[in-house]
Assembly symmetry: C2
Homo-oligomer: 248 residues x 2
């Protein structure tokens, strides 16, 4: 497979596009691509093209000469609503979620998250996660770059899910040992009729009782097997399990 570059502005065969600064830097200095090299270009919204490098100095230009074949997109659109994990772990969560084919990611701050919306903004974390999403799309072959929304704080109220526009049905991932009675195993979750679904995943310390109580009305509780999953792997395991059950 030739190297792929993310060029949001590309839109037709025949045109010549300049790679954005970061992509050009990577192409020229790291990969040392020369004039004449075959490359892939994608627009982040599903468009995939093939092209040829026609200049490679400080700026790198690509002549688009055909349509490419990106990795297949799932038919079910998953919005991952994920409590921000400690340290750099959220980078891995975003990378893995994009690789699995989720459609959008909403980072949230919960009662047991060890951060705040303000701290995330000061650390420009959303920018970082968006770069991770682009890198992961390049690596896994997707031509779609999932939207990473600005982080927000979970409000433990009945109306919060609708207020922030989280699609239904909504699956709330819980630990099997804690919530056995009220949850269904992932292998028994039916394929969503409307082709959208939201998956809510808590932080290292789990959901606070007032959060599970507030979310009980709008969410189906789901558990995954009998072992305790690491917080930075739970979303990956859940999406893998659900997609397999739904035949994605």
């Amino acid at each position: 497979m030739s190297h792929r570059f993310y060029v949001p502005g590309v839109h037709a065969v025949g045109e010549t596009v300049a790679l954005p600064a970061e992509e050009a830097e990577h192409a020229a200095r790291v990969l040392r691509l020369k004039v004449g090299a075959s490359v892939g270009v994608f627009d982040g919204r599903g468009g995939e093209y093939t092209g040829v490098v026609i200049s490679a100095n400080k700026h790198v230009s690509v002549r688009i000469d055909g349509l490419g074949t990106p990795a297949a997109e799932p038919t079910v659109s998953v919005t991952l609503v994920h409590a921000v994990a400690k340290g750099d772990k959220m980078d891995e969560v975003v990378r893995d979620a994009v690789m699995m084919g989720v459609a959008a990611i909403l980072p949230i701050v919960t009662a047991r998250s060890e951060t705040s919306v303000g701290a995330l903004a000061r650390g420009r974390r959303t920018d970082r996660w968006r770069r991770v999403a682009v890198a992961s799309a390049k690596q896994c072959g997707r031509a779609v770059v999932p939207e990473v929304r600005e982080a927000c704080a979970l409000q433990p109220t009945a109306g919060w899910l609708d207020a922030v526009g989280i699609p239904a049905p909504r699956l709330l991932l819980v630990e099997p040992s804690v919530e056995a009675g009220s949850s269904v195993d992932a292998s028994r979750v039916p394929r969503p009729a409307g082709q959208t679904v939201a998956l809510l995943v808590g932080p290292e310390g789990g959901w606070a009782p007032e959060e599970t109580a507030a979310l009980a009305e709008g969410c189906q509780r789901v558990c995954l097997g009998g072992r305790t999953l690491r917080a930075d792997r739970a979303a990956l395991v859940a999406v893998a399990a659900l997609f397999a059950v739904w035949g994605e």
Copy 2:
């Protein structure tokens, strides 16, 4: 949940056991457990106990006073045959596989692995992976510590699978784009009748053609969705998908 310790020699309620040196060090210096603290103790073969610390100096002793409830074990016994990944990535592979409930791990060196059996032995990597397996079992709640076998080199011959004792049926994970015609999606793999299965996962660069050819006779080729998975996540995704489909 109280802290859990791995004591291979524990075998009955009523006895007093000394924690092994590394576990004692962790209990006394890191966790600073005192006499009277409630702890969990497991034997690595499925036995789980509760106990009380009765001495905590250089040596830590625990009086076993009851049976505990470990995390449920899958009913299908999975042997993960995994090409050694680059750098420290195999640590993550082992950690995740134990968390998912695999029964045994056989690290292999393939044509495209960037290491050798000799280099792994000199680096005492098997010892390291065994420590990772114990740590993961403690974290995920399992009382079973899966066996991590000594690494061996994949021989691209028809008899190799039997020669090294890899259980059947055998599932060979392949990239969907490369091998589409000859592979089945994970969501269509039937539950193994004999309750054992082996899953073979290649290195970053994939299987060499002579390897897939030699393994074709003894293995079912399996692919996972349409995206290219990172080599250090493929096993995790595969086990999550298969267990979900099998209702584990």
